[in-house]
Protein backbone atom coordinates (compact mmCIF):
# COMPACT_ATOMS: atom_id res chain seq x y z
CA UNK A 1 0.00 0.00 0.00
CA UNK A 2 2.70 2.47 1.03
CA UNK A 3 4.80 1.55 -1.98
CA UNK A 4 1.84 2.20 -4.27
CA UNK A 5 1.31 5.62 -2.76
CA UNK A 6 5.04 6.35 -2.97
CA UNK A 7 5.05 5.32 -6.61
CA UNK A 8 2.03 7.49 -7.33
CA UNK A 9 3.58 10.48 -5.59
CA UNK A 10 6.75 9.96 -7.62
CA UNK A 11 4.65 9.78 -10.79
CA UNK A 12 2.79 12.97 -9.92
CA UNK A 13 6.08 14.72 -9.22
CA UNK A 14 7.37 13.58 -12.62
CA UNK A 15 4.35 15.27 -14.20
CA UNK A 16 5.36 18.55 -12.58
CA UNK A 17 8.96 18.08 -13.70
CA UNK A 18 7.69 17.59 -17.26
CA UNK A 19 5.71 20.80 -17.07
CA UNK A 20 8.79 22.58 -15.76
CA UNK A 21 10.85 21.38 -18.72
CA UNK A 22 8.35 22.46 -21.39
CA UNK A 23 7.63 25.68 -19.52
CA UNK A 24 11.31 26.57 -19.60
CA UNK A 25 11.58 25.75 -23.29
CA UNK A 26 8.49 27.90 -23.95
CA UNK A 27 10.28 30.97 -22.62
CA UNK A 28 13.53 30.45 -24.51
CA UNK A 29 14.20 31.80 -28.02
CA UNK A 30 13.70 29.80 -31.22
CA UNK A 31 16.43 27.47 -32.36
CA UNK A 32 15.10 26.89 -35.86
CA UNK A 33 16.33 29.03 -38.75
CA UNK A 34 13.49 31.20 -40.00
CA UNK A 35 14.28 30.42 -43.61
CA UNK A 36 13.28 33.16 -46.01
CA UNK A 37 14.34 35.77 -43.45
CA UNK A 38 17.43 33.98 -42.13
CA UNK A 39 19.80 31.53 -43.74
CA UNK A 40 22.07 28.87 -42.38
CA UNK A 41 25.60 30.25 -42.20
CA UNK A 42 27.56 27.13 -41.36
CA UNK A 43 27.70 25.09 -44.57
CA UNK A 44 31.15 23.56 -44.03
CA UNK A 45 29.76 20.09 -43.57
CA UNK A 46 27.19 20.31 -46.37
CA UNK A 47 27.65 17.76 -49.13
CA UNK A 48 26.73 19.18 -52.49
CA UNK A 49 28.05 17.72 -55.73
CA UNK A 50 31.83 17.53 -56.05
CA UNK A 51 33.91 20.38 -57.44
CA UNK A 52 37.52 20.71 -58.57
CA UNK A 53 40.01 22.55 -56.40
CA UNK A 54 42.39 24.92 -58.22
CA UNK A 55 46.12 25.26 -57.59
CA UNK A 56 47.08 28.11 -55.31
CA UNK A 57 48.48 30.60 -57.83
CA UNK A 58 46.23 29.91 -60.83
CA UNK A 59 42.50 29.65 -60.14
CA UNK A 60 41.90 28.27 -63.65
CA UNK A 61 44.25 25.31 -63.28
CA UNK A 62 42.97 22.28 -61.35
CA UNK A 63 45.09 20.38 -58.84
CA UNK A 64 43.99 17.16 -60.53
CA UNK A 65 46.81 14.88 -61.78
CA UNK A 66 44.50 12.65 -63.86
CA UNK A 67 45.21 9.53 -61.82
CA UNK A 68 41.58 8.49 -62.26
CA UNK A 69 41.26 6.98 -58.82
CA UNK A 70 38.00 8.86 -58.28
CA UNK A 71 36.63 7.51 -61.54
CA UNK A 72 37.48 3.98 -60.53
CA UNK A 73 36.32 4.15 -56.93
CA UNK A 74 32.96 5.74 -57.74
CA UNK A 75 30.29 3.08 -57.01
CA UNK A 76 27.76 4.83 -59.21
CA UNK A 77 30.10 5.34 -62.14
CA UNK A 78 29.19 8.99 -62.47
CA UNK A 79 32.67 10.44 -63.08
CA UNK A 80 34.42 10.58 -66.47
CA UNK A 81 37.91 12.02 -66.86
CA UNK A 82 39.84 12.91 -70.03
CA UNK A 83 43.51 13.85 -69.97
CA UNK A 84 46.74 13.75 -72.03
CA UNK A 85 50.48 13.60 -71.44
CA UNK A 86 52.01 16.97 -72.41
CA UNK A 87 54.13 16.71 -75.57
CA UNK A 88 52.12 13.81 -76.85
CA UNK A 89 49.10 14.38 -78.94
CA UNK A 90 45.78 14.71 -77.17
CA UNK A 91 44.07 11.37 -76.97
CA UNK A 92 40.92 11.22 -78.92
CA UNK A 93 38.45 10.56 -76.12
CA UNK A 94 37.62 6.90 -76.21
CA UNK A 95 34.74 7.25 -73.85
CA UNK A 96 32.03 9.72 -74.54
CA UNK A 97 30.85 12.04 -71.83
CA UNK A 98 28.13 10.42 -69.82
CA UNK A 99 24.91 11.77 -71.22
CA UNK A 100 21.32 10.91 -70.58
CA UNK A 101 21.19 8.92 -73.77
CA UNK A 102 23.82 6.44 -72.72
CA UNK A 103 23.80 6.11 -68.95
CA UNK A 104 25.79 3.03 -68.21
CA UNK A 105 24.94 0.90 -65.25
CA UNK A 106 27.39 0.99 -62.35
CA UNK A 107 30.40 -1.08 -63.22
CA UNK A 108 30.78 -4.52 -61.80
CA UNK A 109 33.78 -5.40 -59.66
CA UNK A 110 35.28 -7.25 -62.58
CA UNK A 111 35.84 -4.13 -64.66
CA UNK A 112 39.32 -3.41 -65.90
CA UNK A 113 41.43 -1.09 -63.75
CA UNK A 114 41.54 2.36 -65.28
CA UNK A 115 43.56 4.31 -62.77
CA UNK A 116 47.08 5.30 -63.72
CA UNK A 117 49.87 3.61 -61.76
CA UNK A 118 52.84 5.39 -63.36
CA UNK A 119 54.11 8.81 -62.42
CA UNK A 120 53.73 10.40 -65.86
CA UNK A 121 52.64 14.02 -65.80
CA UNK A 122 49.18 14.41 -67.28
CA UNK A 123 46.97 17.39 -68.02
CA UNK A 124 43.24 17.38 -67.41
CA UNK A 125 41.13 17.93 -70.53
CA UNK A 126 37.69 17.23 -69.16
CA UNK A 127 36.03 16.19 -65.92
CA UNK A 128 32.38 15.31 -66.36
CA UNK A 129 30.08 14.47 -63.49
CA UNK A 130 26.65 12.93 -63.82
CA UNK A 131 25.08 14.14 -60.58
CA UNK A 132 21.89 12.20 -61.34
CA UNK A 133 23.69 8.99 -60.42
CA UNK A 134 25.79 10.30 -57.55
CA UNK A 135 24.92 8.97 -54.08
CA UNK A 136 27.14 11.50 -52.27
CA UNK A 137 29.20 8.75 -50.65
CA UNK A 138 32.30 10.92 -50.83
CA UNK A 139 34.67 8.09 -51.81
CA UNK A 140 36.08 10.21 -54.65
CA UNK A 141 36.92 13.05 -52.26
CA UNK A 142 38.53 10.60 -49.83
CA UNK A 143 40.54 8.76 -52.45
CA UNK A 144 41.97 11.81 -54.24
CA UNK A 145 45.73 11.78 -53.49
CA UNK A 146 46.17 15.53 -54.10
CA UNK A 147 42.92 16.74 -52.51
CA UNK A 148 41.73 18.05 -55.83
CA UNK A 149 38.08 17.31 -55.07
CA UNK A 150 35.79 19.02 -52.60
CA UNK A 151 32.07 19.14 -51.94
CA UNK A 152 30.36 22.21 -53.33
CA UNK A 153 28.09 24.09 -50.97
CA UNK A 154 25.24 25.14 -53.24
CA UNK A 155 22.24 24.39 -51.00
CA UNK A 156 19.75 25.76 -53.50
CA UNK A 157 20.77 23.57 -56.46
CA UNK A 158 17.63 22.68 -58.38
CA UNK A 159 16.77 21.83 -61.95
CA UNK A 160 13.92 20.80 -64.18
CA UNK A 161 15.64 18.08 -66.19
CA UNK A 162 18.37 15.49 -65.94
CA UNK A 163 20.52 17.60 -68.23
CA UNK A 164 20.71 20.24 -65.48
CA UNK A 165 22.66 17.81 -63.32
CA UNK A 166 25.35 16.84 -65.82
CA UNK A 167 28.28 19.03 -65.00
CA UNK A 168 31.57 19.76 -66.74
CA UNK A 169 33.60 20.41 -63.61
CA UNK A 170 36.61 21.80 -65.50
CA UNK A 171 34.38 24.34 -67.20
CA UNK A 172 32.82 25.20 -63.82
CA UNK A 173 36.31 25.80 -62.39
CA UNK A 174 37.19 28.14 -65.26
CA UNK A 175 33.85 29.96 -64.92
CA UNK A 176 34.36 30.41 -61.18
CA UNK A 177 37.86 31.77 -61.79
CA UNK A 178 36.43 34.19 -64.38
CA UNK A 179 33.73 35.42 -62.03
CA UNK A 180 36.18 36.01 -59.18
CA UNK A 181 38.44 37.91 -61.62
CA UNK A 182 35.48 40.07 -62.66
CA UNK A 183 34.65 40.74 -59.05
CA UNK A 184 38.22 41.75 -58.33
CA UNK A 185 38.25 44.02 -61.37
CA UNK A 186 35.01 45.64 -60.25
Amino acid sequence: MTTTIQKTMKGLWSLIVGLKVTGKEFCRPWITVHYPRQEVTNLDTFRGHIDLVPVLDDPEKPLCIVCRRCEEVCPSGCIRIEGHVPGEEKEVPVRQLLLVSNISLPHSAAREPICATDKTLRVLDGFSLNYNLCSLCGLCVQSCPVSSLTFSSDVYLAGASRKDFEFDLLQRLIDRAGSTKLKKAA
Binding site: G18, V21, T22, G23, R28, W30, T32, H34
Partner: protein, 328 residues
Protein backbone atom coordinates in the same frame (compact mmCIF):
# COMPACT_ATOMS: atom_id res chain seq x y z
CA UNK B 1 -35.64 54.46 -25.26
CA UNK B 2 -37.53 52.86 -22.38
CA UNK B 3 -39.56 50.94 -24.94
CA UNK B 4 -36.39 49.53 -26.46
CA UNK B 5 -35.13 48.58 -23.01
CA UNK B 6 -38.42 46.93 -22.19
CA UNK B 7 -38.25 45.02 -25.49
CA UNK B 8 -34.75 43.84 -24.65
CA UNK B 9 -35.86 42.70 -21.23
CA UNK B 10 -38.41 40.29 -22.70
CA UNK B 11 -37.21 36.76 -21.81
CA UNK B 12 -37.32 35.43 -25.38
CA UNK B 13 -35.49 38.44 -26.80
CA UNK B 14 -32.93 38.21 -24.01
CA UNK B 15 -32.42 34.53 -24.80
CA UNK B 16 -32.01 35.10 -28.54
CA UNK B 17 -29.57 37.96 -28.01
CA UNK B 18 -27.62 35.82 -25.54
CA UNK B 19 -27.49 32.89 -27.97
CA UNK B 20 -26.26 35.08 -30.81
CA UNK B 21 -23.63 36.64 -28.56
CA UNK B 22 -22.51 33.22 -27.38
CA UNK B 23 -22.26 31.86 -30.93
CA UNK B 24 -20.18 34.88 -31.94
CA UNK B 25 -18.00 34.39 -28.89
CA UNK B 26 -17.54 30.70 -29.77
CA UNK B 27 -16.63 31.40 -33.40
CA UNK B 28 -14.13 34.11 -32.43
CA UNK B 29 -12.72 31.84 -29.78
CA UNK B 30 -12.25 29.06 -32.30
CA UNK B 31 -10.09 31.39 -34.39
CA UNK B 32 -8.11 32.68 -31.41
CA UNK B 33 -7.57 29.31 -29.78
CA UNK B 34 -6.36 27.65 -33.00
CA UNK B 35 -3.79 30.41 -33.32
CA UNK B 36 -2.80 30.26 -29.65
CA UNK B 37 -2.54 26.48 -29.68
CA UNK B 38 -0.24 26.49 -32.69
CA UNK B 39 1.87 29.27 -31.23
CA UNK B 40 2.14 27.46 -27.89
CA UNK B 41 3.13 24.27 -29.72
CA UNK B 42 5.71 26.25 -31.68
CA UNK B 43 7.22 27.99 -28.69
CA UNK B 44 7.42 24.81 -26.62
CA UNK B 45 9.21 23.14 -29.54
CA UNK B 46 11.29 26.32 -29.95
CA UNK B 47 10.12 27.25 -33.43
CA UNK B 48 8.10 30.29 -34.53
CA UNK B 49 4.77 28.55 -35.27
CA UNK B 50 2.48 30.07 -37.92
CA UNK B 51 4.19 33.18 -39.27
CA UNK B 52 3.43 33.77 -42.93
CA UNK B 53 -0.25 34.81 -43.16
CA UNK B 54 -0.59 38.30 -41.76
CA UNK B 55 1.71 39.85 -39.15
CA UNK B 56 3.13 37.05 -37.00
CA UNK B 57 0.69 34.65 -38.68
CA UNK B 58 -2.32 36.30 -37.04
CA UNK B 59 -4.56 35.62 -40.05
CA UNK B 60 -3.60 31.94 -40.26
CA UNK B 61 -6.75 30.61 -38.51
CA UNK B 62 -8.87 32.76 -40.84
CA UNK B 63 -7.15 31.21 -43.85
CA UNK B 64 -7.65 27.73 -42.35
CA UNK B 65 -11.33 28.45 -41.74
CA UNK B 66 -11.79 29.69 -45.32
CA UNK B 67 -10.12 26.55 -46.62
CA UNK B 68 -12.39 24.33 -44.52
CA UNK B 69 -15.53 26.20 -45.62
CA UNK B 70 -14.50 26.01 -49.27
CA UNK B 71 -13.89 22.28 -49.31
CA UNK B 72 -16.25 19.76 -50.84
CA UNK B 73 -18.26 17.69 -48.38
CA UNK B 74 -17.43 14.07 -49.02
CA UNK B 75 -19.20 11.05 -47.60
CA UNK B 76 -17.66 7.58 -47.85
CA UNK B 77 -19.51 4.84 -49.72
CA UNK B 78 -21.60 2.69 -47.39
CA UNK B 79 -21.80 5.36 -44.70
CA UNK B 80 -25.09 6.09 -43.00
CA UNK B 81 -26.19 9.31 -44.68
CA UNK B 82 -28.28 10.70 -41.84
CA UNK B 83 -26.08 9.72 -38.89
CA UNK B 84 -22.95 10.83 -40.74
CA UNK B 85 -24.21 14.39 -41.18
CA UNK B 86 -26.12 14.61 -37.89
CA UNK B 87 -23.01 13.80 -35.85
CA UNK B 88 -21.00 17.03 -36.40
CA UNK B 89 -24.10 19.15 -35.88
CA UNK B 90 -24.95 17.25 -32.71
CA UNK B 91 -21.41 17.72 -31.48
CA UNK B 92 -21.48 21.48 -31.97
CA UNK B 93 -25.09 22.45 -31.22
CA UNK B 94 -25.18 21.83 -27.42
CA UNK B 95 -22.19 24.13 -26.85
CA UNK B 96 -24.34 27.25 -27.08
CA UNK B 97 -26.72 25.88 -24.46
CA UNK B 98 -23.83 24.89 -22.21
CA UNK B 99 -22.57 28.48 -22.12
CA UNK B 100 -26.05 29.95 -21.59
CA UNK B 101 -26.32 29.61 -17.77
CA UNK B 102 -22.72 30.61 -17.05
CA UNK B 103 -22.35 34.07 -15.49
CA UNK B 104 -19.46 35.80 -17.28
CA UNK B 105 -19.96 38.90 -15.18
CA UNK B 106 -22.33 40.20 -12.51
CA UNK B 107 -24.86 41.06 -15.22
CA UNK B 108 -23.41 39.21 -18.22
CA UNK B 109 -25.55 36.11 -18.08
CA UNK B 110 -27.63 34.40 -20.72
CA UNK B 111 -30.13 32.56 -18.58
CA UNK B 112 -30.43 32.45 -14.81
CA UNK B 113 -31.67 28.97 -13.99
CA UNK B 114 -31.41 27.39 -10.57
CA UNK B 115 -30.29 24.09 -12.13
CA UNK B 116 -27.57 25.59 -14.34
CA UNK B 117 -24.97 23.03 -13.30
CA UNK B 118 -27.26 20.17 -14.21
CA UNK B 119 -28.05 21.81 -17.56
CA UNK B 120 -24.38 22.05 -18.50
CA UNK B 121 -23.59 18.49 -17.42
CA UNK B 122 -26.60 17.09 -19.27
CA UNK B 123 -25.92 18.88 -22.53
CA UNK B 124 -22.17 18.35 -22.52
CA UNK B 125 -22.93 14.64 -22.28
CA UNK B 126 -24.47 14.85 -25.76
CA UNK B 127 -20.99 15.21 -27.24
CA UNK B 128 -20.28 11.54 -26.54
CA UNK B 129 -23.34 10.58 -28.53
CA UNK B 130 -22.10 12.72 -31.42
CA UNK B 131 -18.68 11.05 -31.41
CA UNK B 132 -20.35 7.64 -31.21
CA UNK B 133 -22.63 8.41 -34.16
CA UNK B 134 -19.73 9.83 -36.18
CA UNK B 135 -17.70 6.69 -35.63
CA UNK B 136 -20.59 4.36 -36.35
CA UNK B 137 -21.94 6.25 -39.34
CA UNK B 138 -18.58 6.57 -41.11
CA UNK B 139 -18.33 2.89 -42.10
CA UNK B 140 -14.65 2.98 -41.21
CA UNK B 141 -12.83 0.74 -38.78
CA UNK B 142 -10.64 3.50 -37.36
CA UNK B 143 -13.65 5.70 -36.82
CA UNK B 144 -15.49 2.88 -35.08
CA UNK B 145 -12.52 2.16 -32.80
CA UNK B 146 -12.30 5.85 -32.00
CA UNK B 147 -16.01 5.96 -31.18
CA UNK B 148 -15.72 2.91 -28.92
CA UNK B 149 -12.87 4.58 -27.08
CA UNK B 150 -14.78 7.84 -26.81
CA UNK B 151 -17.76 6.13 -25.24
CA UNK B 152 -15.72 4.09 -22.73
CA UNK B 153 -13.65 7.11 -21.79
CA UNK B 154 -16.51 9.57 -21.45
CA UNK B 155 -18.70 7.22 -19.47
CA UNK B 156 -15.82 6.48 -17.10
CA UNK B 157 -14.76 10.08 -16.56
CA UNK B 158 -18.28 11.44 -16.21
CA UNK B 159 -18.45 9.79 -12.76
CA UNK B 160 -15.50 11.52 -11.03
CA UNK B 161 -16.49 14.75 -12.80
CA UNK B 162 -19.99 14.59 -11.35
CA UNK B 163 -18.75 13.57 -7.91
CA UNK B 164 -16.29 16.45 -7.72
CA UNK B 165 -18.94 18.88 -8.93
CA UNK B 166 -21.28 17.53 -6.25
CA UNK B 167 -18.74 18.46 -3.55
CA UNK B 168 -19.01 22.09 -4.61
CA UNK B 169 -22.78 21.87 -4.83
CA UNK B 170 -22.82 20.48 -1.26
CA UNK B 171 -20.66 23.24 0.17
CA UNK B 172 -22.56 26.00 -1.64
CA UNK B 173 -25.94 24.36 -1.23
CA UNK B 174 -26.98 25.26 -4.74
CA UNK B 175 -26.83 24.08 -8.36
CA UNK B 176 -27.09 27.58 -9.75
CA UNK B 177 -23.93 29.14 -11.14
CA UNK B 178 -25.02 32.56 -9.93
CA UNK B 179 -25.39 31.35 -6.33
CA UNK B 180 -22.11 29.43 -6.47
CA UNK B 181 -20.30 32.55 -7.70
CA UNK B 182 -22.03 34.67 -5.06
CA UNK B 183 -20.78 32.36 -2.32
CA UNK B 184 -17.18 33.00 -3.43
CA UNK B 185 -17.20 36.79 -3.55
CA UNK B 186 -15.84 37.24 -0.01
CA UNK B 187 -12.22 37.53 -1.04
CA UNK B 188 -9.62 35.24 -2.49
CA UNK B 189 -9.74 32.65 0.29
CA UNK B 190 -13.44 32.03 -0.17
CA UNK B 191 -12.77 30.46 -3.55
CA UNK B 192 -13.75 26.82 -3.58
CA UNK B 193 -10.34 25.74 -4.85
CA UNK B 194 -8.99 26.36 -1.34
CA UNK B 195 -11.73 24.44 0.43
CA UNK B 196 -11.92 21.69 -2.23
CA UNK B 197 -8.43 21.34 -3.78
CA UNK B 198 -8.82 17.62 -4.45
CA UNK B 199 -12.19 18.14 -6.12
CA UNK B 200 -10.62 20.82 -8.33
CA UNK B 201 -7.80 18.51 -9.41
CA UNK B 202 -10.20 15.65 -10.11
CA UNK B 203 -12.52 17.98 -11.98
CA UNK B 204 -9.69 19.32 -14.12
CA UNK B 205 -8.31 15.88 -14.99
CA UNK B 206 -11.78 14.55 -15.79
CA UNK B 207 -12.52 17.65 -17.83
CA UNK B 208 -9.40 17.01 -19.90
CA UNK B 209 -10.66 13.48 -20.55
CA UNK B 210 -14.21 14.64 -21.26
CA UNK B 211 -13.03 17.14 -23.87
CA UNK B 212 -10.73 14.53 -25.42
CA UNK B 213 -7.71 16.71 -24.86
CA UNK B 214 -4.18 15.32 -24.68
CA UNK B 215 -2.96 13.32 -22.84
CA UNK B 216 -6.41 11.73 -23.00
CA UNK B 217 -7.04 12.24 -26.72
CA UNK B 218 -7.49 8.55 -27.41
CA UNK B 219 -10.67 8.84 -29.51
CA UNK B 220 -8.67 10.64 -32.19
CA UNK B 221 -5.20 9.24 -31.45
CA UNK B 222 -3.66 10.24 -34.76
CA UNK B 223 -0.70 7.89 -34.46
CA UNK B 224 -2.85 4.77 -34.08
CA UNK B 225 -6.27 5.58 -35.54
CA UNK B 226 -5.37 8.10 -38.29
CA UNK B 227 -7.90 10.55 -36.86
CA UNK B 228 -10.24 8.32 -34.87
CA UNK B 229 -13.90 9.22 -35.02
CA UNK B 230 -13.45 12.06 -37.53
CA UNK B 231 -11.28 10.09 -39.97
CA UNK B 232 -13.83 10.34 -42.77
CA UNK B 233 -14.82 13.97 -42.24
CA UNK B 234 -13.49 16.74 -44.43
CA UNK B 235 -14.37 20.37 -44.91
CA UNK B 236 -16.91 21.80 -42.54
CA UNK B 237 -17.83 18.39 -41.10
CA UNK B 238 -14.35 18.25 -39.65
CA UNK B 239 -14.51 21.98 -38.98
CA UNK B 240 -17.55 21.57 -36.74
CA UNK B 241 -15.89 18.81 -34.70
CA UNK B 242 -12.83 21.00 -34.38
CA UNK B 243 -14.85 24.02 -33.32
CA UNK B 244 -16.80 21.86 -30.88
CA UNK B 245 -13.58 20.62 -29.26
CA UNK B 246 -12.35 24.15 -28.68
CA UNK B 247 -15.78 25.28 -27.52
CA UNK B 248 -15.93 22.47 -24.97
CA UNK B 249 -12.56 23.63 -23.73
CA UNK B 250 -14.18 27.01 -23.10
CA UNK B 251 -17.15 25.36 -21.43
CA UNK B 252 -15.13 23.23 -19.01
CA UNK B 253 -12.76 26.12 -18.25
CA UNK B 254 -15.72 28.42 -17.61
CA UNK B 255 -17.41 25.84 -15.38
CA UNK B 256 -14.12 25.22 -13.53
CA UNK B 257 -13.58 28.93 -12.96
CA UNK B 258 -17.14 29.42 -11.71
CA UNK B 259 -17.14 26.35 -9.47
CA UNK B 260 -13.65 26.59 -8.04
CA UNK B 261 -11.98 29.89 -8.92
CA UNK B 262 -14.66 32.37 -7.92
CA UNK B 263 -16.12 33.09 -11.36
CA UNK B 264 -16.11 36.81 -12.16
CA UNK B 265 -15.07 37.81 -8.64
CA UNK B 266 -11.47 38.68 -8.00
CA UNK B 267 -9.23 41.11 -6.20
CA UNK B 268 -9.10 44.81 -7.22
CA UNK B 269 -11.80 44.78 -9.88
CA UNK B 270 -14.50 42.14 -10.12
CA UNK B 271 -16.15 41.60 -13.47
CA UNK B 272 -16.04 39.78 -16.78
CA UNK B 273 -12.32 40.49 -17.28
CA UNK B 274 -11.50 38.29 -14.31
CA UNK B 275 -13.75 35.54 -15.69
CA UNK B 276 -12.14 35.70 -19.14
CA UNK B 277 -8.68 35.77 -17.58
CA UNK B 278 -9.41 32.63 -15.57
CA UNK B 279 -10.91 30.83 -18.58
CA UNK B 280 -7.92 31.56 -20.78
CA UNK B 281 -5.44 30.72 -18.04
CA UNK B 282 -7.04 27.30 -17.67
CA UNK B 283 -7.06 26.81 -21.44
CA UNK B 284 -3.38 27.75 -21.62
CA UNK B 285 -2.65 25.15 -18.95
CA UNK B 286 -4.57 22.58 -21.03
CA UNK B 287 -2.45 23.46 -24.06
CA UNK B 288 0.68 23.30 -21.94
CA UNK B 289 -0.39 19.78 -20.88
CA UNK B 290 -0.98 18.78 -24.49
CA UNK B 291 2.54 19.66 -25.59
CA UNK B 292 4.14 18.16 -22.48
CA UNK B 293 2.59 14.76 -21.87
CA UNK B 294 2.52 11.75 -24.17
CA UNK B 295 -0.81 10.07 -24.79
CA UNK B 296 -1.69 7.48 -22.14
CA UNK B 297 -2.48 3.91 -23.11
CA UNK B 298 -6.15 2.94 -23.04
CA UNK B 299 -5.89 0.58 -20.04
CA UNK B 300 -3.89 3.23 -18.16
CA UNK B 301 -6.58 5.75 -18.97
CA UNK B 302 -9.32 3.60 -17.47
CA UNK B 303 -7.09 2.58 -14.53
CA UNK B 304 -6.52 6.21 -13.61
CA UNK B 305 -10.26 6.73 -13.60
CA UNK B 306 -11.57 3.60 -11.88
CA UNK B 307 -8.70 2.98 -9.47
CA UNK B 308 -7.82 6.54 -8.47
CA UNK B 309 -10.19 9.28 -9.47
CA UNK B 310 -13.50 7.60 -8.59
CA UNK B 311 -12.44 6.29 -5.12
CA UNK B 312 -10.73 9.60 -4.32
CA UNK B 313 -13.71 11.66 -5.40
CA UNK B 314 -16.04 9.36 -3.44
CA UNK B 315 -13.95 9.78 -0.29
CA UNK B 316 -13.82 13.52 -0.91
CA UNK B 317 -17.58 13.67 -1.32
CA UNK B 318 -18.24 11.63 1.83
CA UNK B 319 -15.79 13.77 3.79
CA UNK B 320 -17.42 16.94 2.54
CA UNK B 321 -20.89 15.66 3.45
CA UNK B 322 -19.69 14.66 6.91
CA UNK B 323 -18.06 18.03 7.61
CA UNK B 324 -21.07 19.94 6.36
CA UNK B 325 -23.34 17.89 8.64
CA UNK B 326 -21.05 18.42 11.63
CA UNK B 327 -20.84 22.17 11.00
CA UNK B 328 -24.57 22.48 10.73
Amino acid sequence: MTQILQFLMLPLVHLIVALIAILTFIALNGLILVYVERKVAGFIQRRPGPFEVGPHGLLQPLADALKLVGKQLVMPRGADRILFWVAPLLSFAPVAICLLPIPFGPYLLGLNVNLGLLLVLAFSGLNVLALCLAGWGSNNKYALLGAARAVAQSVAYEIPLLLSVLCVAFTCGSLSFVDITASQTRGLLSWNVFSQPLAFLIFFVSALAETNRAPFDLPEAESELTAGFHTEYSGMGFGLFFLAEYSYMIVVSAVASVLFLGGWSGPFFSGHWWMLGKIYALILIMMWFRWTYPRVRFDQLLNICWKWLIPLSLINLLGTALIINLVR
